[in-house]
């Protein structure tokens, strides 16, 4: 219960507007570095939010809450999976708790709302989970950096390439009907069709679709070689479960966006998840020694396999820690701080490989094609079966800016700056 001490001591009464509090200048170099973390601790994606906070705290506990010689203080706020709440909490962290930087959020709509807010005031905002393409492409905001995160369309492209290499030529897709779905599915379809593949049909369904049977009925009859799905959370669980119960599993191979087989989805599931293939930067079943070490430490602490959320926030914290070291923990000069983050290479992360940021603040990864298999403990996890080195958010042609979108939709444009 130490994470809210600051707010409790100085501002509890002020929150209801009864006590005046003089404006406190931004934290002095002598005081602690204050990091405001926002995560959905209630609402639809509460489980992921909990793991975000766990992963973030785990890193700082390992480092004794120290960075660049300064103490690190973490203030956690619940964004309730709701953009209005996220915006309010961001205001509170910036204007009342006087944090030095904002971190987190899970759902794209919460992240976009906060990004719109920090655009106006220059507060550094790090988004290891928010994958909306625009934030590091067309509508880039200089103080928003995707440390240890990824762009929605980044990983489906190598997956499409891998599918073509398996001899799949005809794909049908099913995706959540919102930007994150459009971008991932768009990235896949663009690369797939450029490589000579054919998209037979695309289905878009609303978030939290309880019943996939209407779509599965249509998917089954298209005659596709492979089905690509882009689902998150409960939708992912339902799709895979219903895919199996309709007898499609084993008939048509299922590939998908990385969030489909994230641990947060598959850890409560059974054999219906086996064999699903996705592409990602992180695979908890990798035999890289650094990954093994992290997975073991995480398992010891929380008695479960790490999800994307725990991994990303842990690595994001490491990135900031590394960037603060050469500055001796000075965050007051935001431009210098942001520049240091952009220059920092992530070396020792659970990935076990070196990760750099591109000029737009998005990391370049060695991407694994990973498959769900049962491990020695009888748990399902993701194991790499192929690797695509140095994949940026722009796939193979950094100059062409092949922006993803709905296939027939968005025109490529040059970025604003």
């Amino acid at each position: 219960m130490d994470r809210r001490t600051f707010l409790k001591s100085s501002a509890a009464l002020a929150a209801v507007g009864t006590v005046a509090m003089p404006y406190v200048a931004r934290a002095q170099a002598s005081g602690p570095i204050k990091i405001g973390v926002m995560a959905p601790l209630t609402g639809v994606v509460a489980a992921g939010g909990r793991e975000m906070v766990d992963g973030f705290n785990m890193y700082w506990e390992e480092r004794g809450f120290q960075s660049g010689g300064r103490k690190v203080e973490i203030v956690v706020e619940d964004d309730a999976s709701n953009p209005d709440t996220a915006l309010q909490k961001a205001r509170r962290l910036v204007e009342q708790a006087n944090v030095d930087m904002l971190f987190g959020n899970l759902l794209a709509n919460t992240g976009l709302a906060v990004a719109n807010y920090v655009k106006g005031n220059g507060m550094p905002y790090f988004i290891p989970i928010i994958a909306a393409d625009d934030l590091t492409q067309r509508n880039r905001i200089k103080n928003v950096i995707r440390v240890a995160g990824y762009t929605a369309s980044q990983f489906p492209r190598p997956l499409a390439d891998w599918c073509l290499k398996q001899g799949y030529r005809k794909v049908a897709t099913i995706s959540q009907d919102y930007t994150f779905g459009h971008e991932q599915c768009g990235g896949f379809c663009q690369t797939f069709t450029e490589g000579g593949g054919q998209v037979l049909g695309q289905f878009w369904h609303p978030l939290n679709t309880s019943d996939f049977s209407p779509y599965l009925g249509q998917l089954a009859n298209l005659g596709a070689d492979v089905i690509f799905c882009m689902e998150t959370g409960a939708d992912a669980a339902r799709l895979m479960q219903q895919y199996a119960s309709f007898g499609l599993k084993g008939q048509i191979p299922l590939v998908g966006a990385m969030n489909v087989t994230d641990q947060s989805v598959i850890r409560t599931m059974g054999d219906e998840v086996e064999g699903v293939v996705v592409a990602a930067h992180f695979a908890e079943g990798s035999d890289n020694p650094r990954t093994k070490e992290f997975v073991a430490a995480y398992g010891k602490k929380f008695s479960k396999l790490p999800s994307l959320y725990g991994f990303s926030m842990y690595s994001g914290a490491m990135w900031i820690d590394e960037a603060l070291k050469p500055l001796n923990g000075a965050t007051a000069d935001r431009a210098a701080f942001l520049a240091s983050v952009m220059k920092t290479d992530l070396v020792n992360s659970p990935l076990g490989t070196t990760v750099k940021l591109d000029a737009f603040g998005n990391p370049i990864y060695d991407v694994s094609i990973r498959k769900v298999v049962k491990n020695a403990d009888g748990k399902y996890w993701n194991v790499p079966i192929a690797t695509y080195p140095q994949v940026s958010q722009f796939w193979k042609s950094p100059l062409a800016f092949p922006f993803a979108g709905r296939l027939a939709g968005i025109e490529p444009r040059r970025p604003a700056s």
Partner: protein, 328 residues
């Protein structure tokens, strides 16, 4: 209407409402409240000023709910949707069409009024829980459209932009702009509920059949009351668009309608200005509670339960009946 309770209240379908007689005491309290809202920002830090701005905006929403729930005897669960339609239109107009924010506010309020008029046509034939359920369903349609009509509403991600005019960019001047607007709106609403039209609505609330036999056109009155209430909710929604520079489906969601109704109830149904107390209490409590725990949902739920059992007349209603008893 048959009721299973041993001693059914005379009007079991409505929440208990307090009628407004404006005493000198009440005048004094209002002046004091207004003074507090005028002075507080001078001494509060910026975050608290933004909270206070939100309190004022939601007080207007709660007053709009109160016009129907307290003065007309029809408890709605769709005002969040009407409010949010206005927010959507304002943000769309300024961010997607590049239009002027002032025109956007006008369009937003007009859109909200229009939606309210349509809802009114469908809903005024019902009363009691059926009215509640029908308005809930109508609100869900708005939410569904905002969620799925991605090309216009931005779907789940919503719309972002810089809605606020440059003159009101900082939170401090924006607060006073909202304060002025809300003061005018509150005054207009106060005059409205005390006008002959407002008194007729109260007559309908107390006995629809009596008013009908007296020759009043009850459906027309209900229609107008609903539409006017929607107009005020639209004003709140437009202010909210400027406050947040952002809108998403959660702004038109059921929880927004519930929150608006809860604020009106907490303050006191049929007290109009109780909305300020309700809005202040709910938003203040939410901010205070979330410092200590993530269990805001439970706290809100418990508050709902306790108010319904112990103080359905709300805070201001409670004070009023207390004062009335002392006088006797």
């Amino acid at each position: 209407m048959a009721s299973p309770a041993p001693n059914p209240a005379p009007d079991s379908t409505a929440l208990p409402a307090r009628d407004t007689g404006m005493s000198r005491l009440a005048m004094g309290a209002i002046a004091l409240g207004a003074l507090a809202f005028a002075v507080l920002p001078l001494i509060l830090p910026t975050y608290q000023v933004s909270i206070l701005t939100e309190v004022l905006i939601f007080a207007v929403l709660a007053m709009a709910v109160d016009i129907l729930a307290g003065y007309t005897g029809r408890t709605p669960l769709c005002h969040g949707a009407i409010f949010g339609v206005s927010t959507y239109v304002v943000v769309y107009w300024t961010s997607q069409m590049g239009g002027s924010p002032y025109v956007g506010v006008g369009l937003g309020i007009a859109a909200a009024t229009f939606v309210a008029a349509i809802f009114a046509l469908l809903a005024i034939r019902t009363s009691g829980v059926y009215f509640l359920l029908l308005t809930l369903a109508l609100g869900m349609i708005v939410w569904g459209v905002c969620l799925r009509w991605t090309s216009v509403t931005g779907g789940e991600n919503g719309l972002r932009g810089a809605v606020r005019p440059a003159a009101l960019a900082d939170g401090f001047s924006f607060y006073y702009a909202v304060f002025a607007a809300v003061a005018v709106v509150a005054f207009v609403m106060w005059r409205f509920v005390r006008s002959p039209f407002g008194l007729t609505l109260r007559g309908i609330r107390d006995s629809e059949s009596r008013m009908r036999s007296l020759g009043y056109n009850v459906p027309a009155h209900l229609f107008l009351a609903f539409t006017i209430s929607g107009f005020f909710a639209g004003i709140a929604g437009a202010l909210y668009a400027m406050f947040n520079d952002f809108v998403s489906p959660s702004t038109v969601g059921l929880s927004q309608s519930v929150e608006g109704l809860l604020m009106a109830i907490t303050g006191g149904i049929g007290t109009l200005f109780g909305a300020f107390i309700g809005s202040f209490a709910i938003i203040g409590l939410e901010n205070l509670v979330s410092l200590y725990t993530e269990r805001w949902q439970s706290v809100l739920g418990a508050m709902f339960v306790l108010i319904m059992i112990f103080a359905p007349e709300g805070i201001l209603g409670r004070i009023r009946s207390f004062v009335a008893q002392r006088r006797r």
